[in-house]
Amino acid sequence: MISRRDFLQTSMAATALLGASGFGKWGRIAAQQALTQDQLLQFDSFGNVCLMHITDIHAQLKPIYFREPSINIGVGANKGAVPHITGAEFRKMYGIDDGSYAHYALSSGDFEALARGYGRVGGLDRVATVINQIRSERPDALLLDGGDTWHGSYTCYHTQGQDMVDVMNTLKPDAMTFHWEFTLGSDRVNEIVEGLPFAALGQNIFDAEWDEPAELFPPYKFFERGGVKIAVIGQAFPYMPIANPGWMFPEYAFGIRDEHMQEIVDQVRAKGAELVVCLSHNGFDVDKKMAGIVSGIDVILSGHTHDALPEPVLVGDTIIVASGSNGKFVSRVDLDVRDGRMMGFRHKLIPVLSDVIAPDPDVAAVIDSVRAPYEETLAEVIGQTDSLLYRRGNFNGTWDDLICDALISERDADIALSPGVRWGPSLLPGQDITREDIWNVTSMSYGAAYRTEMTGEFLHVVLEDVADNLFNPDPYYQQGGDMVRTGGLGYRIDITQPQGSRITDMVLLKTGEKIDPARIYQVAGWASVNEGTQGPPIWDVVESHIRKQGRVSVAPNTSVEVVGA
């Protein structure tokens, strides 16, 4: 299998590539035109199998800005391990020059300056160019979509995912797995999946009533490429009915089901698979743990937690590839498979810099046509921002602070709660906020902005529950989102404590008083997984708030004190 030496060679190759980008310090960013598409795509073809991985696009058809997190804390065995290393420390670890395009694409720090220098990222017409370029070299390359594709924008909401289906079909994926797709409701998911021209995989998608594998989603598919028999096994998001509203897809059950994964791996090996690839929406730490339990998987293409890593992580004989989110990256993995074994690999996480990579005209035309009926509504300017608006990070993002402000003022609440999701592009200071921008950070099929009463004690239970989903030392008990965002409420969190003891010093910010467990507070929030939740759509609440403000500005959030990181 892969020796440590092979792995190091790959690492060095990656470092050399990054070093060759020619960008030293900020002053030279202006020379952006010196960075070429060929440089970004440069790859010395290797072996006999080529995989392309894209995941967690969240319906971002057009180029966007996307700031990577500065706070992403690892717990238990993953403390201090990637992807729980951010900013300058991350760059140092991978030998990435400050101010380089890799700094901009992969890490946080000086985001605004670098974003102005390097421009937007993603856009599925640019992704198409990357894929076509790889296919021109390697016509039999497999394109694998890790899911969270049919969710996350105005057009996706209004077309029930059809915009994404139409555009993705032009990219001709070979297989896909799922997460947010199910929030379209099982009827719609079934309808789309029945018509998909590629495999819809999930070894852990079960019939809820019979607890048997669901017929519509086969566990795996075989491909013959470069004389190699490849099995691609799907692994959907394990905690769908818990993290998202289960009542929208009651016929389905999920779970990690690693014992079933082992059965499937053994089964495909027995049928002659020489390479086993797992297309996963587990989240990175769950994939790492699973790789240590299930034997016989060569490559895990990891999605869900939106991590972008410049080289694979090795667990035993399994390599784990993390390919970011929002259309910002395509991973290329070339593999040498001989005598029924993976003998080596070469990998590159290709950042899709929208100003450097030319759009594919055919795919651009399809994107324009699916957006055309909505273009005027999408482009309406609601306000401007004076602050960088972003979401990613374990505790708060400025977008969430703004959404919480909107909930408190528009819904007349003491406290606001906003879900710790990891999707949602960023906006730079000075940019217009359009209706499309608001939908990009709020769009979902259960976006009612509720207003309810909660006791201080129950608020504590909620925070503890979500904190354990993030900071339980065992990755199998983590759901992969970030901490619920709070508005009007401050607290202290000691992440090393067990559930029930992490959250202390809860304070009602408007009065500075401690939260009284027995008192009732007016709480506004959105994205409840409960059926029958009532309230105006969150995007209308946020739009109304921004319209009243005209220009928005978000002060640094100091209401959460984090201990034990």
Binding site: I242, D482, S528, N530
Partner: protein
């Protein structure tokens, strides 16, 4: 998150119940284990308990127990007000010594399966099943 008012109240009281339970339930569970084993030591070995890490619905959690050589397998939910779930008995001619069922869990807790093997020894397997409010996925 479950955040309508009705569910908030339900969850709130559920959480208090769960917090208040374990001591008494633990004692009942210990008694049931002692009665099953007759006080014999319980090791690890030929017993597999399959349960979800996080329950999709705490009211109906699928579990499965299996063993190559068990004559009886007892299942306990240690955090429930009544920890006893079931005892499965397998005869010498049993085609497979496995059983699956669905159980109700009052909150996050350990589920334990103890098998009495044909040689008279006892082995156990344990799984923590988390019952969570949920919500807020990535």
């Amino acid at each position: 998150m479950e955040l309508t008012r009705r569910n908030a109240i339900l969850m709130g009281s559920g959480a208090i119940l769960a917090a208040g339970l374990p001591l008494r339930a633990w004692a009942v569970g210990e008694e049931a284990i002692a009665a099953f084993t007759g006080g014999a030591p319980v090791g690890e070995g030929d017993i597999t308990l399959t349960a979800p890490e996080i329950a999709e619905n705490g009211n109906t959690v699928p579990i499965e127990v299996s063993s190559g050589s068990a004559s009886e397998i007892m299942v306990l939910a240690l955090g429930n007000p009544t920890p006893s779930v079931a005892t499965f008995k397998f005869g010498k001619l049993a085609g497979s010594r496995a059983a699956s069922t669905r159980i109700r869990l009052a909150g996050t807790q350990d589920v334990v399966a103890i098998a009495k093997l044909e040689d008279g020894s006892f082995v156990q397997a344990k799984a923590t099943v988390k019952v969570t409010i949920g919500g807020c996925g990535g």
